[in-house]
Symmetry: C2
Subunit: 137 residues, 2 copies
DNA sequence: GCATCACATTCGCTTGGACGAATATGTAAA
DNA sequence: TTTACATATTCGTCCAAGCGAATGTGATGC
């Protein structure tokens, strides 16, 4: 599912990111693939809300999803067009520069390094962070 | 008026550009300063509508305005932060790559070169285009 | 099979934002 | 100062989109 990349639409792109929750989700994906339960844990938002916003990003062609058993992983998807890719890179770059967004990613980083995950994440596949600017554990 | 550049907000930026009309306005400003009457002529939209959307862009800190007699000129405004500037550049770059947006700019280009402007633009200050990719008249 | 877990979707409700129409403001010219 | 012109703003309406609550779906385990 969610394989074909439809022709990029700037309007769709901006509509998709004109929401704080979706910006936070994208920011969390900037270090690599994450499963839904980590999103809900870090954003501290309801699961249906997170899921709805992830579906929005997927329909806009900004992220892609992959199933692994019970878990769904989401990751950023590189647009086909070069300028669109550059725009997405600049977007993520700006996001990573934002203090609130850095706090979210730090929370993710700590969770990934932690020997004991919170109960809500028991058994969940821990994201593998490949961020260039690694936050120390 | 509209001098101070408030701290850049990514969310505000994306909300401001999550609208087709505002994207078209920004695209038209990518070649240089334009006055309101040219916007309404090219977009073929009502004056209050154009004015409202320009005010929205101004409040978001994306454009700045300048009065010259009866006319108001609008231009893009470079954000203070480097990453924000890069994001705006990438945005405009993507816009200029879009066929519909190219048609708008071509219409502007033709209007500027034309010896006889339409009646609605009589006496209006003709924009000076400084676009890198000049469309021939 | 049935239960459970992770996630997706649907359903009303409510709110924000875009719109046309009307009106206000600011400038210049008569 | 009256008029005309360019632009800005306000007002009321309507529609899209976000929300919580409830329910549906797909996978695993017993």
């Amino acid at each position: 599912m969610s394989k074909a990349t439809p022709t990029f639409s700037i309007e769709l792109f901006f509509r998709a990111l004109a929401d704080r929750t979706r910006l936070r989700l994208l920011n969390l994906m900037s270090d690599g693939e994450i499963c839904v339960c980590f999103f809900t844990e870090i954003l501290d938002e309801s699961q249906p809300k997170v899921s709805r916003h992830l579906a929005y990003l997927r329909r806009a062609g900004i992220v892609a999803s992959r199933r692994e058993g019970k878990w769904m992983h989401y990751r950023m998807q590189e647009p086909a067009e070069e300028r669109a890719r550059a725009l997405l890179r600049a977007t993520v770059d700006s996001l990573r520069n934002d203090p609130a967004m850095q706090r979210d990613r730090q929370k993710l980083s700590r969770l990934c390094c932690s020997p004991r995950l919170p109960a809500s994440l028991n058994g969940a596949p821990v994201p593998v962070l490949n961020g260039s600017v690694r936050t120390t554990c």
